[in-house]
Amino acid sequence: MKKVRLFIVSFSAFSVLWFLYFPILIIIWFSFNKESVSSFPIEHYSLDWYVKLFHNKSMMQAVRISFFIAISSTIAALIIGIPSAYALHKYNYFGKIILLPITLPGIVTGVAMLSFFPMLGIPLSLTAVLIGHTTFLIAIMITQILARFKKLDPYLEMAAFDLGASPLQAFFKVILPNIKTAIIGAVLLSLVLSMDEIPVTFFLISRENTLPIEIYGMMRRGITPEVNAVATLVFLVSSTAIFMSLKFNKEN
């Protein structure tokens, strides 16, 4: 009886996973197809599409921009997020309002920024995208790091003060090392989220495209196996980052 139940549970779990990941596996498979038509059976395997991809100037530019946006918005979110999380942990004011940017649909945030940024004199540009990404990444940072703060023994900070550390020294010598893994996890998650963000970016972008927008543009001109190659690479990078972020968040 127990075995049957276990079988049913694992069967349904695997079915769901299969349903989620099978399309991705197919894309990875097709990315090695020599032909430009994605159909079975695949007769010749090659890395042609990857070579072509690396020679695609606008695609490479989009990759660079995406990396730039992801890294700088993550850094900005980090600089704002850590002290915010610390303050929220200590004084719990605004409550849950900080979660709003994650729960709001990206379209709402995007439209709101689209009409608000020009008022501030910020034109539609990568700067606008950067600010847009930073706002929702701050929310990610704060929730991830705040969760760790909540688990942190409050006596650790007291012990540091007791042994002569000023609040700043206590933060750098005791608190930071103990929330380090949560920060690394949040950084990896933020990078991934920024790398494949579409709705907010879509409203704020001008001529320079990020990678997801570039891919979206390519799709409109018809699917080429180049898209498969890009998707495969993005999948590889994202899953590595997510895997590592999970690993770091599990620690402690």
Binding site: Y155, L156, A159, D162, L163, G164, A170, K173
Partner: protein
Amino acid sequence: MSKLELKAINKSFGSSHIVNNLDLQIMDGEFLTILGPSGCGKTTTLRMIAGFEMPDSGKVLLNNQDITHLPPYKRNVNTVFQNYALFPHLNVEENIAFGLHQLKMSKSDINRRVDEMLELVQMETFKTRKPFEMSGGQQQRVAIARAIAPDPEILLLDEPLGALDLKLRKQMQFELKQLHKDLNKTFVYVTHDQEEALTMSDRIAVMNQGIIEQLSDSQTLYNHPKTKFVAGFIGEANLIPVKTEDKSSFTFEDKTFDFNHEISSATAVLFIRPENVSFDSVTNISLAVTIEDVIFVGNHRKYKLVTASGQKIIKTEDSSVPLTKIIGQSVTIYLLPNLIQIYNS
């Protein structure tokens, strides 16, 4: 000379008055325990000495210097926390060295001091262990070493043995007492465990509802509790309601006994320890009782006695004394006047 002085300290959290106009003088080199039930204000008092809480009014003086408003990192006072609060990212050596780094000591001095401390708490072989790789008792030793390492003026201990099992707790009590003797340092110890307090302390301050009910050495505290609360909190006690019409006698079940006391109200409570209730006619204060039950408790036996009016009295006796009484027997008990106290009810 008093090392630390608390002067008219008041502290409230919201509407609850936790510490009420508290005065306390702690002598240099003494082992003082603040003992009381949870919520009595003992931990808050300790925290105000450490600097984690600021009093609403009053003064904290260390070596006659006002430290009331100094933050904890500017006070030469260290704490051993109940849950150890060892830094999980540092090993034993680095934990102990933490306070020494703050003093900007040289590397060689730090190393020497750390080794000294490890030897003191007999943890030399654990130098490179991380806190999570050690048992509770071992962590507590490291916590003590870490707190002593910067050579504080006073060592504060906040229920440091609370999380340990009984056997280890007893062992650590002796070790702490020994440590206090060896270091010749002022220890302020907070606990709710009266046995711990009686075993280790030079003096005990019994705290209840924000005030110190009695401050004295263990023996005085046990034999001559000043208030009803102290009598009931420390050890086992018989608290018997009596009538007190004048200040030279008390009346219990229509029998009046000569006894000088300070009670001016008509009713009061008589206190006597179970071991001081005697079957031998050693005094004229006697009561007729019936033995309700006799319980064997290892090294002593406990008699549950009841008077004609239904007042229950406990008497204990060494188990080495032969048992001659039986359940249901009527006997007379005698109470030695110098072991009796009478309190306001």
